[in-house]
Symmetry: C2
Subunit: 220 residues, 2 copies
Amino acid sequence: MAITEAKHVDTRDRIMDAAEGLFARGGFNATSLRAITNEANVNLASVNYHFGSKDRLIVEVIKRGIRPINSERLTRLAELTKNKNGSPVPLEKVLDCFYRPAFEYFQDNSKINFLRLLGRLLYETGPFTKAILEEEWMPLFEPYFNALKTALPHLEDDEITWRFHFALGSMIFTVSQYESLEAMSCDNCTIRDDFEPAIQRLIAFTTAGMNNPHALKSNS
Amino acid sequence: MAITEAKHVDTRDRIMDAAEGLFARGGFNATSLRAITNEANVNLASVNYHFGSKDRLIVEVIKRGIRPINSERLTRLAELTKNKNGSPVPLEKVLDCFYRPAFEYFQDNSKINFLRLLGRLLYETGPFTKAILEEEWMPLFEPYFNALKTALPHLEDDEITWRFHFALGSMIFTVSQYESLEAMSCDNCTIRDDFEPAIQRLIAFTTAGMNNPHALKSNS
DNA sequence: GACTATTTTAAACGAACGTTTGAACTAAAT
DNA sequence: ATTTAGTTCAAACGTTCGTTTAAAATAGTC
């Protein structure tokens, strides 16, 4: 049974690896199962055998990729607030806990496409995509929103939401559209070899933006 | 000939209007010509008659939408730098010239989907999409980069490029993913009825982020 | 009213898609 | 050696896609 299971898992993972790269590069609808099974060197029918359908394949691919990132985000934030129990947590440390697990994906070359797939997912439509995002996002939003609230006590809730949204946009754009940044800078500004300059600049940028003492009145 | 041209233009525009909305909602590959022609109440073959192919249809849709935005961006920046000839231009005014023409698209309900289509285009693949984006972006990048350089004389070129990239991410995310912001805030933070609070907050956020005096050394 | 050019229409084309099927294959258990 | 459960495989299924075709309809010209 050991070898049988090894084969099983092997085929499953080869399909998911190939699907992850092809979905990120060409999109979900534009990527055919035949393209995936060709790249994975498996039979066409094995996708429906192991996953049931193409829809459930992408769900598994996304969950496999996003869960270690998000659990790491929660773990680091919990450690951060635990060690500083009571006293306010520095804003830049909170943002570091949120950004870094995503950036660390770039260390693994086989995962470099996944963040682009996640960014693309925001624009994909379908019965499953929105559900996955909300399902994986909601457990993350509350703890981080509370951490931001204690770090920015002078701001109203909606103001924090606005600024968190802006920071999210910067991060997502940075990790999923890095190619356009490379093009703009003639490859001077890159994220591939070492993400530390990128994440430090991103933290500096978004910390300054969120710390801005001036705020619009009320929630209008 | 007058009525003939009217019909011609009418069918063309009805196709483009329907395509813009459907492409934005469901993506390029997932939207069939039959869905477009049904929504536009025109015959299926008229797409190929008027545009030649589905690929050339999306090119025309994108160009029709992006050109008035980008020409307005250039016009307003030119006026801004002309009136303040010589003296440095305030950073927030430069960003206002860049952001506002995009946000003003939300005033026209028929155009509300176009910015989402543009955001989605960043993640679409194809021989035409990247070419359009670069073709329409390059004439914009140089003037705005120069304006940012004079507004931020203490920063190196690459540092400006990084921060401009972060600001771009915030803006694109705001105009194309406003639904997730509404969900996070229980519809307290919205952009639909009035974009002025959104654009002012976005300008405040990105101005603070770009003005940050601290900068990483060198271009590493 | 006949003629020409332009546009619209219904129908069909071949190709590619996700999925299903049933037989062949593999490896551990009896 | 036979059985059994799990997996792989080639082939085919029905559907949908973008595109093409040729006839019908429309509008302007003489």
